[in-house]
Symmetry: C2
Subunit: 441 residues, 2 copies
């Protein structure tokens, strides 16, 4: 891809309307464009990052055996009246009347709809557990949408739902998602801590938020720094192994301000280990038993009688993660972003110095791009005739982790190569490819 042909509308300066760094950067480098209050279009650069995040989220759901479906955005009010949430949900629910004056709504979450699908499809406990997820647009009509895609109205979310015969099996399902979320955020190069959390309008009495540290986060967090050392790599998809994993986390105090208790914090965490900072919620899991299955009559046959199924739900904010990664990785003082290679819009940028009368560096760039292509490395070439230093500045903002610079210094088959955050090196193309490939593993 040539930069001159790409649809990446760069702004010269930080947009004044943006108050946090992810919002600033996303507008500045043309990842998104606002189309209405709290509603955004995703331009190619933003779209690529979000799609890569979506795919990682998907793979980690598939890996624990969750089946993908897709529920619609528009729902009927009827099922919400059955569950009792239609009136409760308040003004954040976007309520709609269709041309026949039927009460509809844009789904803010899907507990009711999935319960309706389940009760019409599954009759016997032998078909349990059922774990289902979808990745779909949601709408919450925030009074004051702000911070770009971090607190917007239309957002992209993965939500999963589990159906089990009893609490023991349901906790097993819950713990599978607990592990799956740790794996997901790790692949995004984020350090996420599971924290005991309130359940809010979803309900139930067991819930964890997954929080990543960021100074601009909306949640205050209180924890023990040893929680960052807990390992999940050897956890198996077995009841005991998963339960042990949760216990290893739950040994350490970790709460958001909703659950904060100073006395408990002081008792459980000695000063040397105390962490009191801010964070961003990127995932939230809930166990709520029969809160929906009972009013909506979702049962299975078990030993001759009908049992209400026990349910949980599990959300990851896919669009929000784009902003969360920027909050965690963007050095706004020096205007340097670096995407984790797993979600970077491109893996490598080739920046040739181009003079109007001398396109030889562009030719070199084209030659290098062929080699990158044959090595399955996704690249973009900045073929514009901007001056060299403004090109580099621009790509420091765009945050593609690897840069190959073709200025006047390169000789023969060696080039200036930089991994953002490291020193520039002079390397031949074979070595460059080796470094990029190694970083993708």
């Amino acid at each position: 891809m040539y930069f001159s042909k790409s649809f990446i509308p760069i702004l010269k300066n930080n947009p004044t309307e943006a108050k946090i760094k992810s919002h600033q950067l996303m507008l500045r480098i043309g990842m998104i464009k606002q189309s209405a209050a709290g509603i955004y279009s995703w331009l190619p650069l933003g779209f690529k990052v979000m799609k890569k995040i979506e795919q990682i989220v998907r793979e980690e759901q598939d890996r624990i055996g969750v089946q993908e479906i897709l529920m619609p955005t528009i729902q009927s009010s009827e099922i919400w009246k059955e569950s009792g949430r239609y009136e409760d949900y308040g003004e954040e629910m976007l309520r709609i009347k269709d041309r026949q004056n039927r009460e509809m709504l844009y789904g803010p979450t899907n507990e009711e709809l999935i319960t309706d699908i389940f009760r019409n499809s599954i009759k016997s406990y032998k078909s349990l557990p059922q774990l289902l997820y979808h990745i779909q647009w949601k709408f919450r009509d925030e009074l004051r949408p702000r911070f770009g895609i971090m607190r917007c109205r239309e957002f992209y979310m993965k939500d999963a739902y589990s159906f089990d015969i009893n609490d023991e099996e349901a906790f097993f399902s819950y713990n599978k998602f607990f592990l799956s979320y740790l794996r997901t955020f790790k692949r995004l190069n984020l350090s996420a801590i599971p924290m005991a959390a309130d359940t809010g309008p979803i309900g139930g009495n067991l819930s964890h938020e997954f929080i990543i540290l960021a100074e601009t986060g909306e949640s205050k967090i209180y924890t023990d720094k040893r929680i960052f050392e807990v390992k999940s790599d050897d956890t198996k998809i077995e009841k005991k192994s998963l339960s042990d994993l949760r216990k290893n986390y739950e040994k350490f105090y970790a709460v958001t301000d909703e659950k904060f208790d100073k006395k408990e914090f002081d008792e459980k965490v000695s000063d040397e280990f105390k962490v009191n900072t801010k964070g961003i919620e990127v995932g939230h899991i809930f166990y709520f038993g029969d809160k929906y299955s009972r009013p909506m009559n979702a049962t299975v046959d078990f030993q001759g009688k009908k049992e209400f199924v026990k349910m949980g739900s599990y959300g990851v904010g896919v669009s929000r993660l784009v902003g969360a990664i920027i909050e965690a990785k963007y050095d706004d003082k020096n205007e340097i972003m670096k995407w984790p290679i797993s979600v970077s819009p491109y893996e490598c940028v080739i920046i040739p110095l181009i003079n109007k009368n001398d396109k030889s560096n562009l030719e070199k760039a084209n030659n290098i791009s062929k080699i990158l292509k044959s090595s399955n490395i996704d690249f973009i070439i900045d073929d514009t005739d901007e001056n060299f230093s403004s090109k580099i500045k621009k790509f420091n903002l765009i945050g593609i982790p690897f840069q190959i610079m073709i200025g006047n210094k390169n000789e023969g088959n060696t080039f200036e190569f930089k991994e953002i955050g490291n020193e520039t090196q002079i390397l031949d193309i074979g070595k460059i490819i080796e470094i990029i490939k190694t970083s993708k593993k």
Copy 2:
């Protein structure tokens, strides 16, 4: 995947509410579930097919250099007032008021929104052409939704938009999509004919519908059967080659009833070549010049002045294609479906005969599945203890093109193997894999 663990709720009989065969089959084999009038959830089997279609559509857009973005589902009414379509669009537009009483709508199409994005991003003709697409849910509030996902309210669509400096360049863009659509439908194993069409509420004076033949289609079509022989394989992405391709099609009379003229049909097509049948619209392309760029003031700098960009739009009904493929491929009299391998939910099913006291065939199935897996063939095992013939009947409906049957007849390393529509053969596993792999090419 084991059938017993999958979420594939099969109905014993055809649902009485379904009037056409795609709607019948999709409900019968649990591909979709209606959640409200004209609004459906996609269950795993339906979801898999739709995702594979989406991916083929995407690859063929990428191949002609269209860049992917993602616009939101909810739009502000303001841009529709600018273009003049807000009042025109009628009751099919789902109009919404948010909590602040702002007029919003669920996008039925995106000409306005993309024009708004373009005019804010691109300033110079040097950045043209720009070809952009997205794949997003749309809503049209049909008065009488029917035929399942073929004429529903919430539907999944790929829509692309082109921006050019003049008519000549714009026709070049138009023709790229013309070729891209032929390629797309070919990969879906559909024989689609481009037909001169009315432009309707989109506007403009050049338009083609892509129609596939199906007796249950809503469009009457009149054409010359030699149009099915036109070849596009050697067409290049060059102005002349693409223009020749369109001419080769336009040699033959091909219209829907909106444009039908009996006298012209009789003059241009001799009786031996006449085709007068029904079809399903699966794609529609439009060229409308400055219809939106002029009222919305989308211009680029060209030779010292502002020029309105020339635009076209290009739609493929991704969710509708699932139904269209069924209409084209499902033999409802014999209750036999066969998916093109490119979009089949699984590539192969293993059907072991299982007795309560003898699981040896299930073991054989597991062993075969390992070999399939290592050959990257996606399979499902029917591990239920239903009787053998009802299993086979069920999978004839589900339509996975290849079946490996493990009954009492198989000996050693050979199995009963059937490609749907062909005779059963006794083959060893190596030969079976070779056949499946060949069909994927």
